[in-house]
């Protein structure tokens, strides 16, 4: 009986810590949120909500770091570690999208350090096949490699993004850039102008569509087209 009461008491403490962690998180007091979620995890390391709360708190701290333009690798690494542990205790798919986003940011921070980010991006996409940010970054890396097969794959990824999410404007810019680099000015113009329809104020698209248009006109005038 004593043991049962003790367990109930401990459980109530853990829930209180999680509750306090949530309250701190929602007012942006991430340090206190981290302290409370960590306290709950000291009692119950497999507590799903406490672990998720801790992962989200580290995520938010890292996001703040991005806004302040400070090195963020260690911050994202810490958040990603918590998501990795969380994935072992939460068999549902509810947290996968945030885990995927966290890996995307970690991949960017990894690239800033000059290291290979591709495995992180692949994991990110595997966790969430609708994470077009990760796909876009993966395609940019592939395009940059200059290897013909990789460049072709990059094109297919950009096309996949645009057919799935036509408002992902960056992919129009990036796909157009690829065509332009290959000297396929017609396709570059097609792609950029399609992007411009979706986002008429995008300065990169306005500029590049105009350049491609001028280039096509001059080729017509010179008899090349």
């Amino acid at each position: 009986m004593f043991l049962v009461l003790l367990l109930l008491g401990l459980s109530a403490c853990v829930e209180d810590d999680v509750k306090r962690g949530n309250e701190a998180f929602f007012i942006g007091d991430y340090d206190r949120a981290i302290a409370n979620f960590s306290k709950a995890l000291d009692q119950e390391p497999a507590h799903r909500d406490a672990r998720y709360g801790l992962a989200l708190s580290y995520f938010s701290v890292a996001e703040e770091g991005e806004r302040l333009h400070v090195p963020t690798f260690d911050l994202w690494k810490r958040a990603a570690d918590e998501f990795r542990i969380l994935s072992k205790i939460d068999s549902g798919r509810q947290v996968d999208a945030n885990h995927s986003t966290c890996l995307f940011y970690l991949a960017r921070a990894t690239m800033v350090k000059g290291e290979n980010a591709m495995p992180l991006l692949d994991r990110s996409i595997k966790l969430d096949s609708a994470n077009y940010f990760s796909m876009n970054l993966k395609a940019l890396i592939l395009a940059k490699s200059g290897i013909p097969e990789d460049v072709e794959m990059a094109k297919q990824i950009f096309i996949h993004i645009l057919t799935s999410e036509p408002m992902f404007v960056s992919a129009y810019v990036n796909l157009g850039n690829l065509y332009w680099d290959e000297g396929d000015i017609e396709s570059a113009w097609d792609t950029w102008s399609m992007g411009l329809i979706k986002s008429p104020d995008n300065s990169a698209l306005i500029r590049w569509t105009k350049i491609a248009e001028d280039s096509l006109k001059s080729r017509v005038l010179s008899g090349e087209l």
């Binding site: 999680v18 709360g53 940010f133 940019l140 996949h160 992902f168 399609m194």
Partner: protein, 350 residues
């Protein structure tokens, strides 16, 4: 093999959908033995090619040949008429698959709409080839003239069938209609005299632009003399690419057209696919008993699923709201497309 349902019973074979360790498979149980080229099927079974069915088992049972392969959630090409752009896209995928098979010295030999399943998953339309290892010329309306002369399938005969298939895809019916084997053999030899562009024009269903884009393809594929056809599948692919570029503005437009078609036609038809009759693939005399048992199993399974859903909902609503709300908020914020300019910047890659 645990459960099976008859999908179709034809002159050549009975087709069943069977469950193998919980995985749905198709069992094609021929009515004769030696019904296919065992060597070709052996090679196919060893392959893992995205555009080719996955053969799990093949051989003979009770004096009849059989092939078992993974069930493909999709629609047979024979049930569809495709817009020209979509048909060209599908043809390019087929050509890519055939080129991959060529590297293993494998040719289909019976390309016809019934042997192509169009699947649509994760936003991608993929034709999958089934029924390899045909013995004989294959579907007569699609067979190249040399196949009627007993020659084995090769790149050029598959190329001819692809041309006939393209016509069927866009037009909705076959280019050649004849009586019996000899009639089709004779019609295939006379194929050069057919003005396919004229037939498309007369139907009134095609734009001049479409007819003109397709014309080089007929010339490259639908020719009686194998030497007069395109040099290889790579050349056919180039012609398909040119035809597509004449009809659609860029790859994105093509993908959009394909996706819209697939979402409106393939998805719904795939959903409607249901077996027409239930019966045991291997008659055992305990059919009724097995049927009842399977109903019981399904009911128990449904009950468990329902209980799990209720439990899941209860758990979700008991104290987890706070942190999941935070997660949803963070996700919405981080996936906003309002400021994606950061991802255009390729400075990271320099």
């Amino acid at each position: 093999m645990s459960e099976s349902e008859l999908l179709h019973s034809g002159g050549e074979a009975d087709i069943y959908v069977v469950s193998e360790k919980g995985r749905p498979c198709i069992l094609k149980w021929y009515k004769a033995k030696n019904a296919f080229d065992t060597e070709a099927i052996r090679k196919i079974a060893a392959l893992e090619e995205v555009g080719v069915y996955r053969v799990r088992e093949f051989g003979e049972r009770e004096g009849r040949s059989f092939v078992e392969y993974d069930y493909l959630p999709g629609v047979s090409c024979s049930e569809l008429k495709l817009p020209v752009v979509v048909a060209l896209y599908v043809m390019r995928k087929l050509v890519k698959t055939l080129e991959a098979l060529k590297a293993h010295q494998l040719f289909h030999g019976d390309l016809n709409p019934g042997n192509i399943i169009l699947t649509f998953a994760d936003g991608a339309l993929q034709p999958v080839l089934i029924d390899f290892g045909i013995v004989g010329p294959g579907a007569l309306a699609y067979a190249a003239p040399e196949r009627f002369q007993g020659k084995p399938a090769d790149e050029k005969s598959d190329m001819y069938s692809l041309g006939m298939l393209l016509f069927r895809m866009v037009f909705g019916s076959e280019l050649v209609a004849a009586n019996g084997y000899d009639g089709y053999a004779s019609a295939s030899l006379d194929i050069d005299r057919r003005d396919i562009s004229e037939a498309l024009y007369a139907s009134g269903k095609f734009t001049v632009q479409e007819i003109s884009a397709l014309a080089p393809l007929w010339k490259a594929m639908v020719r009686a003399d194998a030497d007069a056809r395109a040099e290889d599948l790579d050349e056919v692919d180039e012609l398909l690419e040119i035809a597509l570029s004449e009809l659609a503005v860029g790859d994105v437009s093509v993908q959009k057209a394909v996706r819209e078609y697939a979402e409106s036609e393939i998805v719904e038809k795939t959903r409607q696919k249901v077996p027409v009759e239930s019966k045991n693939a291997i008659p055992s005399g305990t059919e009724q008993k097995q049927k009842k048992f399977s109903y019981l199993k399904v009911s128990v399974l449904l009950g468990i699923v329902l209980i799990l859903i209720v439990l899941g909902l209860v758990l979700l609503n008991s104290g987890k709201k706070g942190v999941d709300d935070a997660g949803a908020y963070i996700l919405e914020k981080s996936r906003s497309l309002e400021s994606p300019d950061a991802f255009v910047d390729t400075n990271l890659l320099k």
